[in-house]
Every structure is written in C-alpha cells, then in structure tokens.
Amino acid sequence: MGSVISVEHLRKTYGSFVAVDDISFEVEEGEIFGLLGPNGAGKTTSVEITQGLRVPDGGDIRVLGLDPRTQATQLRRLVGSQLQESALPGRLKVWEALDLFASLVPGGPEWREVMERWSLTEKASASFSSLSGGQRQRLLVALAVVNEPRVVFLDEMTTGLDPAARRATWQLIEAVRDGGATLVLVTHFMDEAEQLCDRLAIVDGGRVVAGGSPQSLIAEYGGDLQVNFSTDRPDVSFLEAIEWVDSVSRRGPHVVVVGRGPVLALVGAELVRNGIVPTDLRVQQATLEDVFLRLTGRGLGE
C-alpha cells in the first residue's frame, strides 16, 4: 500500500490573498482521506490543484506518480471528480449524462451498468433539474466513477442536503471506496469526517493544523474523557486512586469520573471488584468538534 497522493508545501495566492499558505498531506491507497475545515480554509483550492484544475504557486504534488501541473490530461483520465458548485445542464436527462460522460473515457464501462449499479434506472429519463438533492448527488457520484478511476475527489457532497439524503450520500461514498478507489473527501462537517474518514487533515487559514485518524486526533486533542454511571453506594472515593483518573464528583446517585486514556476500562474493572455493577456505565467522548475548537480556538461555524 503506497501513497497515491503526495502534496508537499502547496501554496496558492490570488494577488495579495493567500488561499493556500502551506499545505502538505499524503493519501494512502484504498483509504478515505478527509480535508476538514471551515469555508475559505483552502480545501477546495488544494484538491482542485491536486486534480490539475488550477496551477499552484509553489509546492510538490504527485498523484498516481503524475505531476498535475504538467500531466493534467493524463491525470484526469485516472481520477474521478465531484466538484463543488458544479452542475449539469438542467434539461439534460439522467441517461444522457451517463452516456455522455461514459463516452469521454475510451474503453470505459457501459453506462447502463453504471446506471443500474447506482439505482438510477428508474430516473433514466428525468431531467437533472427535476431531481431531488439526494438524487443529484447520486448521479454526480455515478458520473465521478464512470471512468472507473483510481482516485475520486468529492468536494462538499452533502451541503444543502436534508439528514436522510446526507446519510444516503454517506453510503454512496462508502460504496465508492468498497469498489476499490481511494477517496479524497472535502467537507466542513465534523460528523461526516468522523463517520467516513480513515484519516484526515484539519485545515485552517490555508494550513494543516493537525492530521491523523479521527480517533487519534480525538485522543490527542480532544481533552479529557468523562465516565458516567449511577450507584446507591455512598462512597466511591476508591476510584480516585486509579492512575488515569483526575477527579470524581457526584450529585445524588450520579457519579462523574473525569480522566484520560484507558480510564473507562480501569473504572469499570474497579467498580466490579467493589461489587458495583451499574447498568448505565458510559463514556462521554470528545468529538472532532472539540478537537477543532481546541486547535483553532473557535468552532467550525464561526
């Protein structure tokens, strides 16, 4: 499993405006890699440069061994793309779109198969403008993978979709990965990144502020864990002796243990040893939202 995308010290400015200051990341084969950050962080610019759609001012980029600056034409045949704020002609029918985009790739798959695989057959004669948000995304994903690409870029797939359509789109994204492609996902939704990405880079102000798997980022930057349970036993001070526990507090039967690392397992074991078997033992974990807040000092929506 080598890296299929390698971006080093990418930089892009428009006049005095710095869109991308210094962004580096690597994407491994077969993973879903996320670029997570607020609007204007430089995510879209970065992936568009990576696809050879924009020319960077500086940096080293390799995608599938090709340089997008000089080998964009070759590269575009190997990657699939769902661009932010791109659309199809409103009067274009679903089957026509599939037929057309399949024809752009010599030796590509039969468009009818693609239409079947992405459950678009019953909408074959519907025009693009008549599709719902979720159906449009399904079609755009189908078009992005119609050339059986090795790398697929998906930029803000779920913006403007209702929750059900978002869930359905997440399934599409996983289906693309299961088809063997490497995915680069651009999103400003924390839950989306946490749910889908194997690894991600958090981007803010044109720079990568942290990178890793969602779990490792949460472990590293998410702060303390909180373990909650309830018990009638008045004295639980024995928990304070556990190595990873920072504090124990209680209000009535509700006990809150704050700690780090493997605190949940240790607290659980200690409770059982002391004859307490709570049915509501649970851990409240930090999310990527907390990670982002800690790294940038502000929430994503700000």
Binding site: Q51, T73, P89, R91, L92, E96, D99, L100, S103, L143
Partner: protein
C-alpha cells in the same frame, strides 16, 4: 471522436429543448417572412417611384427569403449559443466537463457543429414552408447558395461563440444576443429595404457582421453570382472569431 459526436448530439438535443432558441431560429424568421412577404408581395420594383428602386429591383420575397436564412443563422448564433456557453460557465458545467478531460477544442468544436446543425434545420424548415406557400422563386444558383450557407453558418456561429466567451453571465449574454439579433435584422438587409434606411443605420449596417452573411446568401439566390467581397469578410469574421474565442475561452 465518438465523444465529440456524443457531445454534439447531446448538445443538439439540449438546444432543441431550449424554447428561446427554437423560437428565434425556427419560428420568428418564418413569421417575419409571412408578414413582410404578405405586405410587399414579390413584384420587382421597376422604378415607378421617381426612379427610386428598392430591393435592387428584385422581388421582395425573393430578396427576403435568403435574408431570412441569414436571420435563422443569426438566431442560433446570437441568441442560442452565447447564452448557452455563458450559462455553462456560470453554473459550473464547464468546470465539470473539464474535470472529465473535455478539451477546449473539443467543447468549442461541438458548439460550432451544433450551432451549424441547428441553423441548417431552421433554414430547411424555413424554405420548406416558403416554397409552397409564398411566391418565392427558386435560387438562380442553388449550388452557390448552399456553399454560401455553409460558410455563413459556420463563420457566424464562430462569432456567436466569441460573444458567449467574452460575456460574463448568461443574463448578459442573452440580453446582448437579443439586442444584436434585432439590430442586425433591421440593418443587415432582413428588415426594411436597405435603400430606405437612414444614413446612420445604413452606416451601422455596413459594419454589422450579419450584413456580409446575408449579401453572400442573396447574391447566388438572386443573380446566380458569387459575392466575393462579402464572402471574404465572412471568412475573416469566422477566422478571427474562432481564434479569439479559443484564446479568450475560460472554464470558469
């Protein structure tokens, strides 16, 4: 090659689903032909009006029919094509096409072919209605007329592509296209007899790019001759427009 054909075919269908293009390319020239043909008939002017001759002495319907073929060409090239290209750019369709390896030459060629094709359909339709239902005479040289049509439709389509390339939004392109279409109709020989145009309008007509197209179409139809000067002008418009469109074309 198959992808160019496919794109041309899909784009043709999209053009035909656009009511504004259909109206201006197919319906309007036909309607104007009926109105003006009905008003002026097809009697050649013999100078009874104090020696002042309009339509160069040709029958008005004979004069107008090839001019309206020019109007059909202008309908798709001025009203269809520019708004179409500008809308594609505005809505991100061009970005999407580019990401799927569509080349600049490929896209622009498809637009040119489609525009030519729609103009041809519009013209055939116009003539198919004009011959049985008006007094129009058959062209003196049908062969030269056909060549003039091909040259005119291709070159004027290139001009339309240029307009769509330089105008920033679909709205701007559509407004500019409509304005140019009506202006050209009046000053380029498809409206009032050119002999009665006030000097200022006649001067605009001299330089309006549709004027040589219409002259080039009328000459073989009316006299059987090839209009050398206008055809050179048309060719120049086509070559310059195509070159400028290629270099000025932006995907977003």
């Amino acid at each position: 090659m198959t992808s160019l054909l496919k794109m041309t075919w899909v784009e043709t269908k999209l053009f035909l689903r656009e009511p504004v293009t259909v109206l201006f390319t197919f319906a309007l020239p036909l309607m104007v032909l009926y109105v003006l043909g009905g008003v002026f008939g097809n009697e050649g002017d013999t100078g009874g009006n104090g020696g002042f001759v309009v339509y160069g002495g040709y029958g008005p319907t004979n004069w107008y029919t090839p001019a309206y073929v020019g109007l059909a060409i202008a309908g798709v090239a001025m009203i269809g094509v520019p708004a179409h290209i500008a809308e594609y750019r505005e809505r991100g369709v061009l970005r999407r096409l580019r990401a799927s390896s569509v080349s600049r030459t490929g896209f622009l060629s498809a637009q040119l072919i489609v525009s030519f094709f729609i103009a041809a359909i519009g013209s055939v339709l116009l003539l198919a209605v004009a011959f049985p239902s008006t007094e129009v005479d058959t062209p003196v040289s049908a062969g030269l007329f056909l060549i003039a049509f091909v040259l005119g439709a291709v070159c004027f389509s290139a001009f339309g592509i240029l307009v769509g390339t330089v105008l920033p939004t679909a709205r701007a392109a559509q407004s500019a296209g409509l304005l140019l279409w009506f202006l050209f109709m009046f000053v380029s020989g498809a409206g009032p007899p050119p002999e009665v145009l006030p000097e200022s309008l006649a001067a605009i007509g001299e330089y309006a790019p549709l004027t040589p197209v219409i002259k080039m179409l009328q000459e073989p139809w009316l006299s059987g001759e090839w209009a050398v000067g206008p055809s050179v002008a048309v060719l120049a418009i086509g070559v310059v427009s195509a070159g400028a469109a290629y270099f000025l074309f932006k995907w977003e």
